[in-house]
Symmetry: C2
Subunit: 292 residues, 2 copies
């Protein structure tokens, strides 16, 4: 698995126009940057940079690689931001409580954005189900919370920040994949699915929307395992649109519309009514709202 360090360096060089400036920005010597970029090019077998005595620019192939690298580096930054929020237990200025869906799929990117806008803010994250999040905010164990629940306690102010949707996904080879108009709710309810183990929020939400389900053909603990099973053709699965978006884009899974039933839900920020948002928490909610 690739080390992203050299790519990060490549992006830095491309952005600043010279290896020396990139080196300064990273706090290393110019020679180190030169050597690292050279070894990256050697490993790839492609020349990425056009050197000149006046500086350095990307070759066409380099521009393509830089574009791809940007995505990977951004994803790695989101990972790091998330991890930082797990570690910063004490002395953190902003305490966030978030439901699993928000914590897994949305929060890291918000934290990256928050960090660029407001560096030096230590964020601590605790992740639980929606009712526990609300309790944490009420008890002042968290400055701001993010929940999936349609209703929140009276003592909390709330603002919708995003929307997701339960999505039926199948392997591209599955017969449902060819149905342009999808399936109806009754068909979904009577088809054995690959599902999360009992008690999952997604599963209960689905049952609330379309009634009792057929016995699952397979129960698995993690979203990834479910996606793999569905992509392998075991059976259809129902997951959050946030969870399956990359797989749909890659074509490894295909979404099947469901007629006659609304499967979306809203994700909201919540905070204590008596304690208005201040500074970092206000910034975070604003960032989150932008993504709606």
């Amino acid at each position: 698995m690739a080390d992203l360090g050299p790519y990060d360096l490549l992006l830095s060089v491309a952005e600043r126009g010279s290896m020396g400036r990139a080196a300064a920005a990273h706090g290393v010597s110019q020679a180190a940057v030169s050597a690292r970029v050279r070894s990256l090019e050697a490993a790839l077998g492609v020349t990425l940079l056009e050197r000149s005595p006046r500086g350095t620019t990307l070759t066409p192939a380099g521009a393509l690689v830089a574009g791809w690298a940007r995505s990977a580096v951004d994803a790695a930054e989101a990972l790091e931001a998330g991890i930082a929020s797990l570690r910063a237990e004490q002395s953190s200025r902003l305490r966030v409580a978030a439901s699993l869906t928000v914590a897994e799929y949305l929060l890291p990117r918000w934290l990256v954005a928050l960090r660029t806008r407001n560096p030096g803010t230590a964020v601590s994250l605790s992740s639980q189900n929606s009712t526990d999040v609300a309790a944490d905010v009420l008890a002042d164990r968290a400055d701001v919370g993010f929940v999936e629940a349609p209703t929140v306690p009276d003592e909390l102010d709330a603002q919708v920040v995003a929307r997701d949707q339960l999505t039926v996904v199948v392997s591209p080879d599955h017969p449902w994949a060819r149905r342009r108009h999808g399936i109806d709710a009754a068909r979904l309810a009577t088809t054995p699915l690959v599902a999360r183990e009992h008690g999952s929020g997604t599963r209960s939400h689905l049952e609330r929307a379309i009634g009792p389900l057929a016995e699952p053909v397979l129960e698995l603990a993690s979203t990834t395992a479910i996606k793999n099973a569905a992509a392998g053709g075991v059976a259809p699965a129902v997951l959050s649109s946030l969870a399956v978006a990359p797989d749909l884009a890659a074509g490894t899974l295909v979404a099947v519309p469901v007629r006659g039933v609304a499967l979306h839900r809203t994700l909201s920020a919540v905070w204590h009514r008596g304690r208005p948002l201040t500074g970092p928490s206000e910034d975070l909610v604003r960032i989150a709202t932008g993504s709606g």
Copy 2:
């Protein structure tokens, strides 16, 4: 910048349920896996795995980290797949020609999917504008091409594989960000934008849709530079929805609807009419279509 190696290992361990099996899958010793995972946990200050004499499972924090890591590792895999396609000049079984938008934002993920379905296929990529792509396919320098052009030469078969949309983006602080109903085309045409240098496909497509534009306030060479300028509040920018999707999700940019004009375009696979798709090229087009 993080090295994704340890995270890849973590995912492997989580998936297989024991360090020994993960070690075997990666071709290293069990002790190496144990040490690496331990050092990762030490660096993070968080226990990720629950060890037992019967194997290993993720802790709750570990599951969260694993979810984040999955995104980063997937992005890195797309990067590697793209790079492999640049390097594989000769003796490759599948020659692909793609326009810049497709090559940058869609193709790498398709290649990852193709590799899992059809390992051992060496893919070579050449990236140019749409008319050159069509020429490559016609001259049998490429087995399959991906273009943005609305029309293709008669000698080519075509299939729509995806759709993108020119999107007006502004900083979250910009006045347009608060307009729920967006702006009209005339307003857009008379507003100085941050734009690509003259001759870009995006820019000419925009002019074809809404007529002559105001003189840009700033011209930049790369998509990233344009996004940074727009996010910094310099001026609005117009970019492909594929390019700005992550920034919209992160909240660093806000999309502004444009009333009364259709700004979408289709991305199509093309191949020589006399030479039907076979094996790998057929798989690739099928994967690409799934993402539509």
